[in-house]
């Protein structure tokens, strides 16, 4: 099964995403609570996919996305953020994000995005 690294500073959101993924038989590669942890864990775990929050302490999700894409251009990252303004979406897509999900979301929206990116 495909493995997913879940990145969000809120343990509540990590639990929600983990719940959706395990119900759909994905493996959880790991959980990161900020952008720096995400960069480090990506290197260590090489997950098939990353769900990336934006608003986080230490390093935000856009900075982490840029670092991960810089070192691993093949990385598949889906942004999951409450900040859905167009400029943010464009920034993320230009930096290499494969999709952008606005929080709060429905489970179906997450699965559609993941299946499309991995498909």
């Amino acid at each position: 099964m495909a493995s997913v690294l879940i990145v969000d500073d809120a343990s509540f959101m990590r639990m929600m995403i983990k719940d959706i993924l395990t119900k759909n038989e994905f493996d959880i590669a790991g959980e990161a609570a900020n952008g720096q942890e995400a960069v480090d864990m990506f290197k260590e775990l090489s997950p098939d996919l990353v769900t990336m929050d934006i608003t986080m302490p230490e390093k935000d999700g856009i900075a982490a996305l840029k670092e991960i894409q810089g070192e691993h251009p093949e990385a598949k990252v889906i942004m999951c953020s409450a900040m859905g303004q167009q400029s943010m979406v464009i920034d993320a897509i230009q930096a290499g994000a494969k999709d952008f999900i606005v929080k709060p979301f429905q489970a179906d929206r997450v699965m559609d995005a993941i299946n499309k990116v991995l498909g």
Binding site: A82, Q85, K103, P104
Partner: protein, 161 residues
């Protein structure tokens, strides 16, 4: 007496729309705003405050406050309709994320009014406390089936833009 803060009507609308969208459309909790009022340079917060910084073309703070039982009701709803008797670590994380959702949606709505902002990660304050600031707060009271949620907002155009 403090004078009314300068906040454009479209920015006010963006914030109220955002909160109603999250509470009513996403959480399915019936909600209605009553008229915003000027809290001045200080206000006394209820049990729980979610504090978020705003920067970008507008700068300041958005502080979301509510009673503990309102928070429990919102968190229960976020967890898919559970009865929450006490806020544990996951519950605190959820109410923090609720603040992030409201502020995030406000940022999206403000962008439509051509004000691009970023939000800082929320910080939770537990217990009644008095918030003070040099600038004036405007308070938006949202009555909902879960209880009252107050959005205390102080955002003004940044000097940098």
């Amino acid at each position: 007496m403090s004078s009314a803060p300068h906040m454009e009507a479209q920015h006010v609308n963006a914030i109220t729309n955002a909160a109603v969208m999250i509470v009513e459309q996403h959480l399915g909790i019936e909600a209605k705003f009553s008229k915003p009022y000027v809290s001045g340079k200080q206000f006394l917060a209820s049990d729980i405050s979610v504090v978020m910084g705003v920067n970008g073309q507008l700068e300041g703070q958005i502080i979301c406050t509510m009673e503990e039982k309102t928070a429990r009701s919102i968190v229960g709803n976020m967890m898919g309709g559970m009865e929450i008797s006490v806020l544990d670590d996951m519950g605190w994380s959820a109410i923090q994320e609720f603040g992030n959702w409201v502020a995030g949606r406000a940022a999206s709505e403000l962008a439509k009014a051509e004000a691009v902002i970023d939000i800082s990660p929320p910080v939770i304050n537990e217990g009644h406390s008095r918030f003070r600031m040099e600038k004036t707060f405007l308070t938006f009271p949202l009555s909902s089936a879960a209880g009252e949620v107050y959005l205390h907002v102080s955002i003004t155009p940044s000097n940098r833009s």
